[in-house]
Amino acid sequence: MRAGRRRQGRWVVLIAGVLAVALGVAVLLAGCGGTETTTTTTPPATGSETTTTPTTSTEPTADAPTIKIGHLDSISGPGAAAASSIVDGLDLAVEKINAAGGINGSMLEIVTVDDGSDMGKAAAGATKLVEQDKVTAILGPFVPPFGMAVRQITEKAEVPNLMFISAMPDDLAQPGAWTFHTIQTFDANAAALLGIVRAHGFKKVAAVSDQVPVHVLSLQMLKEEAAKEGIEVTILPDTWEASDPNMNMGPISNKIAASTKSADPEALLLQATALQVGQVMKNLQTQGITVPIIGSPAAAHPVLFAMGPEQVEGLIVPGPGMLDAHALPDDYPGKDVLVDYFDSFTAKFGHPPDFMSGYGYDGLYLIAEGLKTSGDDRAKLRDAIEGIKGFNGVLGPFSFSATDHVGVHGGFVEWKVEGGRFVFVRTLD
């Protein structure tokens, strides 16, 4: 004990020194904006469009100045799984855009900041992107509460911010001037669910959801809209906190089974995350619930099969066309975009895309679409994005306006789980 203290004397200086150097390097690098992974893809030297393997480098080589786009996401921490999909989509998008010659000759450069799944760091990261890296627009974040903190920074700094967060009623009623929510929210979900119920001819369905706000709001909207068509939607009283992926779903499943039996519906709308749907479905089956089960768009994700595909056999989900783009009917609007995405994503990463990868892909393509007319200018870019109409993204068709900062209100297709795959059933729009 005492001997240790003696040794420590020399270490004090050494360790303090190492730490000081580490800190210095950290501050310096952060200050220069040099540690971000910058992905810039140069167009092939020949300019030939047949080249399929563009080279990636960190040094832009085009004559026109690069345009910096910030990406703020939970690269580490509990949110890391979702972020890695988003990064994949974003990487693919920047690669393709730059390979095609960039935006009017300017290469796109992505500056990524990891918020470590922490709100304070998300806010600091947004500040860094805005003030230090001077990005033209920001993609992200993904975690809803972080969006509220980041939004205050980007609105004040007047930077277009495309968040991967579903808009809430307030956001729809009064969108932030600089804030866009470029993914579907409860209105699209409710419409898709209603479309499925209608197509199957159900007149009486039960619905249950976890406490994820989009799920709760979707069911409320669905109930109202369905009533107009004479379809009865019973929202079961049971609910649970979805934030713990390791939660034992047994007890809540038993309650859902009991409520379902007493409601006696033709189908059950089970609005839960992909990780929890399987557990609930398995429990419901053992409790003798045999009616068709319709999941939420959040369940249209391959992680659904993580606990064994047999658990979720027969589940019906609304999901984007990218899940199996080749299966879509030829007249499906934007099929060419979806097939291109599906093929190029599968070629690059070795597995088909999930809807979260679409967040990054569509987000950057929307910015690119705006940049084509706006040039490297934050205010003009904001206006240009508001002017985008009928743009076919991989999540669905986008049309923005000064009052609509969500842009995508459809794009779902009915899928059915068969043998660990999503099998196309019908289009819904």
Partner: protein
């Protein structure tokens, strides 16, 4: 070449020294520099990102201070700060967003609501200790999370709350990055300065006392439960304030920010910062930059962060600032030739007297009774009872009882430890309790000081029954005690320990201390004076600013007495005050106790040194097996046949005094010089240092096979250090240790033990949670021949039959003497070739001392070699063949025991008087 490289090394060292001097020697300057940098850098280098990160760091500083108060100071392993952080943030969020309350009011409300929550849950939760407390406070966090997620209409549920309006103070809105940065740091620095003052005051001392020994704190009048609660509430207020600021700075809140992860980070920051208040600031800044600055490196940030953390914890367990503690300051002082005052930044108290330095240490041990004690007389207004007691005594008018024990019995399960004892302690007297080990003396002390509830009986103190009172309440009535097994506060300096004794006379609370009100400063000055007087009385002024844990055992005992005295008690209870002291120290102690009595303090003491007891006491009480077997004036008790039978032993009564019985004279079975046995242990020029302080300056000695060598010397001479160096617990910096012809220098303690060197450490250090048999079994680990264990065990039980009787009892239930036997037994269970004994007679009754030393001679006759440290010089010399006298880390004398026993120089040296002439080493 060599010369130039040496010069380069020295040059480098010089730079290091300067840097370290700047860091350590001038803490005040360092703080000013830190504040200046914090204020100025945003002006010099404008980076909004940097400001944003530093704002977060400032918030963390507040939480780290919160953790420092509850965990670092009060020692309570609470993770409640994340919850209180959240409560502060949500109070602000809900009040500002949902109710539109003015923002500054929200901030204040956030801190208040967090404190209130702590006040409500604190009392029940703080009854728990260690991991249980940690679990309970983590549970609080879960409750908070559930409440937030289940009240979405108010808190926004999992989605959180936003936007939170900007904080406005007097119409100024904190909306820009700079203004928020300064907002947070002004709060952080104010809290730091406030807390620093609080922690230096009685409040901080009470926190630290509660952290290490609630028992000792309670016996000094510290109401421990209240102080723990206060620390908890203060910690919650800081966390709540930080949470409120966080809400304003971030503009949005969600429950995830206040999870268990959020609770861990500030604890890590505190540890990285070195568990000091200002170190925590460095820790918070460092970690925040690491977390944010490296986040650009994406997937590697977690790795880098973890590696830095591991490096820190492995090599710098005391943190960035923690390595720079007292030893280093002394070392720096030595190197740079600075005076202590300059280095410590504290003016050396006691003035020129304490500057006289170590040569005066010896003389300081002998008090000039009148002169030193004089100032101890308390201001009459402070303790009227004592004053009247003195007056009464002086008038000779009364012999009123101060303490009455009426029919007290204590049962531990089926064992009756104290059996229907009644006794009276007369005001102004010195009363001694004697009796064999395990007679129930300490239990009786515990009953009197309210640490132990009696099964039956009543205790009356100063005419008032205190049977139902708490230990702290009893102490506040004017009783103070010391402990047989020391309970000093190791996390404080000697002076601070003694200042805790002043606790019951102090009134200042947190705000008086934190704001440095004049009344508080006056009170603190008075307490400082009182503590200095108590230190002076025990001859400890020299050591006032040393960490109490760094003192040798005997001096720690004096610290306890000084601490008890500083409370200016009416009744002082001393549990074996002379244990671990040598002859000179004992006689000084006798004078001091007599002087204390002269001041009107009644003294009740337990002591085994029968000469001390007889010479000092007015009355003697004898306990045996929990019952009173004799009572009266010393002479009367000494002649009582029952007392002689139970305690003194026949020889004592016959006047044989200190010479223990010897079955065999050492000379009788030792052949003369020509065929001297070969040395089993050779210690050659060994040096050992604690940090920069060298305790052994080249000690050489030999222990011949089959003989006993005694090591004598005053407290602090390096005796225990020598034994620990031989047993491998300490590594020597130079020299060589050879055992049975094998070089064992620098081997680990287990390796040394497995070679056959077993140590009986000072203060026993038995495994209190294991039973007797398992303790002995632990001692057998590493012995080369498992086969002989059964025989040895039988021999140990034969030697100490009481151990056989209690073989399945937990060791903590043994009395002090039985624990000593167990410690020796445990060492013997290892089948030793060499036994290292550190103070084997410490705390033992005379008959037991006889028994132990008879046993040691028996063991020696069976061929066991021993190296023994013993304060009782005559006793040690009567059984040893050879002896070595250590003086301040060097061998002052060595020779045959019989010769040294007659040597006047030994008496001088050993009795602690300053040797005018250097003693030559005679072999």
């Amino acid at each position: 070449m060599t010369v130039s490289s040496t010069a380069a090394t020295e040059k480098r060292l010089e730079v290091f020294d300067r840097v370290r001097w700047a860091l350590v020697a001038r803490p005040v300057a360092l703080k000013f520099a830190l504040v200046a940098v914090l204020v100025l850098w945003p002006l010099a280098y404008s980076s909004l990102y940097g400001l944003s990160v530093m704002t977060t760091a400032g918030l963390y500083v507040l939480v780290v201070v919160s953790v420092h108060v509850i965990l670092g100071e009060a020692g309570q392993l609470s993770f409640g700060h994340a919850t209180f952080y959240g409560i502060g943030a949500y109070s602000v969020g809900v009040l500002a967003v949902k109710y539109g309350v003015p923002t500054l009011l929200c901030l204040v409300a956030g801190a208040l609501i967090a404190s209130l929550a702590a006040l409500v849950v604190g009392r029940p939760v703080l009854r728990l200790k260690y991991f249980y407390l940690a679990l309970a406070t983590i549970g609080l966090g879960q409750i908070f999370a559930v409440v937030v997620s289940q009240t979405p209409s108010l808190t926004g549920g999992a989605m959180g709350l936003a936007p939170i309006p900007d904080l406005r103070i007097l119409g100024y809105a904190f909306e820009g990055y700079e203004s928020r940065y300064y907002l947070v740091w002004v709060f952080a620095l104010l809290v730091l300065l406030f807390t620093e003052k609080v922690l230096k005051s009685r409040v901080g001392r009470s926190f630290r006392a509660v952290a290490t020994s609630e028992t000792a704190a309670a016996t000094l009048g510290v109401r421990t439960a209240n102080w723990k609660l206060l620390a908890f509430v203060l910690s919650a207020a800081y966390a709540g304030l930080a949470g409120g600021l966080f809400a304003f700075v971030t503009g949005a809140i969600s429950p995830a920010s206040f999870s268990f992860n959020a609770a861990l980070l500030p604890v890590i920051m505190m540890l990285v910062g070195g568990r000091s208040l200002w170190g925590g600031v460095l820790g918070a800044i460092l970690m925040t930059w690491l977390l944010n600055g490296l986040s650009g490196a994406q997937q590697y940030s977690g790795l880098v962060y973890t590696i830095v953390l591991l490096l820190l914890l492995l090599f710098l367990p005391a943190g960035v600032s923690g390595g720079l503690r007292h030893e280093h300051r002394s070392w720096l002082r030595a190197r740079l030739g600075l005076s202590r005052a300059a280095v410590s930044g504290v003016p050396s108290p006691g003035g020129p007297a304490s500057e006289a330095g170590s040569p005066a240490a010896g003389s300081a041990l002998v008090p000039a009774t009148g002169a030193v004690v004089g100032p101890m007389r308390p201001p009459l207004s402070a303790i009227p009872q004592a004053a009247t007691a003195v007056a009464r005594k002086r008038n000779g008018s009364s012999v009123s009882p101060l303490l009455e024990i009426r029919g007290v019995s204590v049962d531990f399960g089926g064992l009756r430890a104290v059996n229907d004892v009644s006794l009276v302690v007369v005001e102004g007297s010195i009363t001694a309790i004697i009796g064999p080990n395990g007679a129930g003396k300490t239990t009786l002390f515990n009953v009197i000081t309210r640490l132990q509830r009696p099964t039956t009986g009543d205790i009356v103190f100063g005419g008032q029954s205190i049977t139902g009172e708490s230990a702290a309440a009893a102490a506040r009535l004017g009783m103070a005690r010391t402990f047989q097994n020391l309970r000093i506060f190791p996390n404080m300096t000697v002076l601070e320990n003694v200042l805790v004794g002043c606790h019951r006379h102090e009134r200042s609370g947190i705000f008086a201390a934190g704001l440095g009100l004049p009344s508080q400063r006056r009170e603190e000055r008075r307490s400082q004076e009182r503590a200095q007087e108590a230190l002076a009385l025990m001859g400890l002024e020299e050591h006032a600013h040393l960490p109490a844990a760094a003192l040798p055992y005997g001096r720690q005992r004096l610290v306890e007495i000084a601490r008890a005295l500083a409370s200016q008690p009416r009744l002082l209870l001393l549990d074996e005050p002379a244990a671990g002291m040598n002859g000179a120290e004992r006689s000084a102690l006798v004078e001091r106790i007599a002087a204390i009595r002269e001041e009107g303090v009644t003294v009740l003491l337990v002591e085994h040194d029968i000469e001390l007891v007889m010479g000092l006491s007015d009355a003697v009480v004898v306990l045996d097996h929990g019952s009173l077997i004799g009572q009266g004036a010393p002479e009367q008790v000494r002649a009582d046949p029952a007392v002689i039978e139970a305690y003194l032993g026949v020889r004592r009564a016959e006047g044989h005094d200190r010479t223990p019985p010897r079955a065999v004279r050492p000379d009788a079975h030792r052949p003369d010089g020509s065929s001297a046995p070969s040395p089993l242990l050779v210690v050659g020029d060994v040096r050992t240092a604690y940090g920069p302080i060298e305790a052994l300056h080249g000690v050489s000695l030999e222990v011949p096979e089959g003989q006993i060598v005694a090591v004598l010397g005053a407290n602090g001479a390096g005796k225990s250090t020598l034994l620990y160096t031989i047993s491998g617990a300490l590594k020597p910096t130079a020299g060589r240790i050879e055992f049975a012809g094998q070089d064992v220098t620098g081997l680990s303690a287990p390796s040394v033990a497995s070679l056959g060197i077993r140590q009986v450490p000072e203060g026993r250090r038995i495994f209190t949670s294991l039973n007797v048999e398992d303790n002995l079994l632990m001692g057998a680990s590493g012995r080369p021949d498992r086969a002989g264990y059964e025989d040895d065990l039988a021999f140990i039980y034969d030697l100490f039959p009481i151990l056989a009787e209690r073989r399945s009892q937990p060791a903590r239930t043994l009395s002090g003497g039985q624990q000593q036997m167990l410690a020796i037994g445990r060492a013997l269970a290892g089948g030793p070739r060499l036994l290292l004994l550190d103070e084997p007679s410490l705390g033992l009754a005379p008959r037991l001392v006889e028994h132990i030393f008879e046993s040691l001679v028996k063991l020696n006759d069976r061929g066991l070699t021993m190296l023994m440290v013993e304060q009782n010089a005559e006793l040690a010399l009567s059984v040893a063949h050879h002896a070595v006298v250590l003086q301040t880390g060097t061998v002052a004398l060595a020779g045959p025991a019989a010769a040294l026993r007659r040597d006047d120089r030994v008496r001088e040296c050993y009795l602690g008087q300053v040797a005018e002439r250097p003693l030559s080493v005679s072999r």
